[in-house]
């Protein structure tokens, strides 16, 4: 399914593939080697942002130490090197998502900007009053608010696919909502608040049967599982570098070439033009048409290094390891009296959202922090889905492949302390 990128993958011996040496992997993440309030850091806030391997940090440092220059314009050697590294990163992203062509990859600030780009340049020109945009009830605010803004400006209507009590998409309702006026379906690949893995292939197929294009928000999927945009057939796919063990401030939009060709630019400025006069400006071709101004060069190169790193381990192996860890964690916290897991879909990835009788999520967060355990508490930028479950806030532990069973045990012990205090 996924093309292997990164050199390390090709030198991994077959027997090493059999085991997942988490302790060795942890050595690649300098931030994990520290004490928080006198205890070893247990970082379980990976859905908010992930930690960075040494190779990513060193790649960015090397870029600034030896290659820093602007891209696409200098005639000098440094600019040539920077351009090569930047465009090389685009090729790595294209292989990582299995896009047919690197020109289908646009660099943006993050998944949020990616959705806004698609909203502004692809969807907005299509919309007239009465048109509909379909999202799901479990979306992050970044996949709700841009569409609301678009609806306000055009008179279009935002429709919401409901979910069931386990936090799974109601596919029957989805089919009912897909109608003549639907101009776009936009849903998360993996829910950041519940961990649900949505059946996106099926969602896309149903929409395409009716000629409706689909945007997939892959911010929470790309760090945890192989993604193949050609196999999915999605029209757009967005993700964030910082959740994928890369730097903040860089993200990606995949868009099918035939869409990108006809879409107007997202922002105006340098780099997105072929020629400018005061009478007429001719725009560059995709993807540069969508990348006005000096891009986040170091960020893109750092993202490329992150992709090399996860590819050297293998997304299949990462998914298998995390799945086992999630099952272990789910079983472990389920034994805690008064604890209720929010989000119990059959297909889940890396996220444990929960509430505890008598203790508010913020109090849980503060007490866990005293134990060196970092989790997220609150509404996770997904207020509608929490309202669906009738809770104002949850505590959320989110896993990455460098987390261990020992860390889950520490989490369970700390939650017991919360129960003691508030019981």
């Amino acid at each position: 399914m996924r093309a292997v990128t990164g050199m390390a993958a090709s030198v991994t011996l077959p027997e090493e593939r059999m085991t997942f040496d988490v302790e060795r992997i942890r050595e690649d993440f300098p931030v994990l080697r520290q004490q928080i309030r006198g205890r070893p850091l247990v970082y379980l806030d990976n859905a908010a942002t992930s930690q960075k391997p040494k190779s990513v940090i060193e790649t960015i440092e090397q870029y600034y130490l030896t290659e820093n220059s602007n891209v696409h314009r200098g005639i000098h050697l440094l600019s040539e090197r920077a351009t090569e590294a930047f465009e090389g990163a685009r090729v790595k992203v294209a292989r990582f998502l299995n896009a047919a062509d690197a020109r289908e990859i646009i660099f943006v600030r993050g998944a949020t900007e990616g959705i806004n780009l698609v909203a502004h340049s692809f969807v907005r020109p299509l919309l007239v009053a009465g048109d509909e945009i379909l999202v799901s009830e479990m979306e992050h605010h970044s996949n709700i608010v841009p569409w609301q803004m678009l609806c306000e400006a055009t008179g279009a209507v935002l429709r919401v696919i409901p979910i069931n009590d386990d936090g799974e998409l109601r596919l029957d309702e989805y089919e009912r909502l897909l109608g003549e006026n639907t101009r776009l379906v936009s849903i998360a690949h993996v829910s950041n608040a519940l961990g649900t893995i949505n059946p996106v292939k099926h969602v896309i197929d149903l929409a395409h049967e009716r000629g409706v294009p689909v945007l997939i928000d892959g911010a929470q999927a790309t760090p945890h599982m192989p993604v193949d945009v050609q196999a999915l057939g999605c029209d757009f796919y967005v993700c964030s570098g910082h959740k994928l063990f890369g730097p903040t401030g860089i993200g990606v939009v995949f868009g099918k070439a035939r869409h990108l060709e006809i879409m107007p630019p997202y922002q105006g400025g340098g780099d997105m033009i072929l020629s400018v006069t005061f009478e007429k400006t001719i725009y560059n071709e995709a993807p540069l048409k969508f990348e006005a101004g000096t891009p986040h060069i170091a960020g893109a190169i750092g993202l490329g290094a992150a992709i090399d790193y996860v590819s050297s381990i293998g997304l299949d192996r990462i998914a298998a390891y995390e799945d086992e860890l999630l099952v272990y964690a789910t079983d472990a916290i389920s034994t805690i009296p008064g604890l209720r897991i929010i989000g119990t879909a059959k297909e889940k990835a890396s996220i444990l959202s929960f509430i505890l009788d008598g203790a508010h999520a913020h109090d849980i967060g503060t007490i866990l922090d005293q134990e060196g355990i970092a989790i997220r508490t609150g509404h996770h930028c997904a207020q509608p889905v929490l309202r669906r479950f009738g809770v104002p806030a949850t505590a959320r532990a989110s896993l990455a492949f460098y987390n261990t069973r020992d860390e889950i045990d520490a989490l369970v012990r700390a939650i017991h302390k919360v129960s003691e205090l508030f019981g």
């Binding site: 999520a361 913020h362 503060t366 929490l386 205090l421």
Partner: protein, 150 residues
Amino acid sequence: MSDLRELYQEVILDHNKRPRNYLKLEGANRTAEGYNPLCGDQITVYVLVEDDVIQEITFQGSGCAISKASASMMTATVKGKTTDEAKGLIEAFRSMVTADLNAAPDLQAVGKLAVFAGVREFPVRVKCATLPWHTMHAALEGQAQLASTE
């Protein structure tokens, strides 16, 4: 756990579990809603002011132990006080929970509310403690808009 006990004092845990004046006040003539956009904490404060004196004050909402206990003790403390006295307490409370860690906070001005002095050790929780007070301030000022910690 020593720092935690400093934050979650028994009085606070008790007010969290059994919040005082936790109901809608029929006949309130000042009401305000408070919201912390960062975490979603939400509170409504109802006040009955007569002759510049807070005759009755209640609250409802959802929030953590710190915000709930703060609201509960706030209502218990200001009932019967003049609006000016209440505003003085708002300022004293705010000063206490945001006081520099190296300086001794002025605990005399706040009386029993001194149990919240530990909050200043937890900067991210300060807004939990102050939300009810901001909201009461908005109610007393008759501000129509939503009080916010931001």
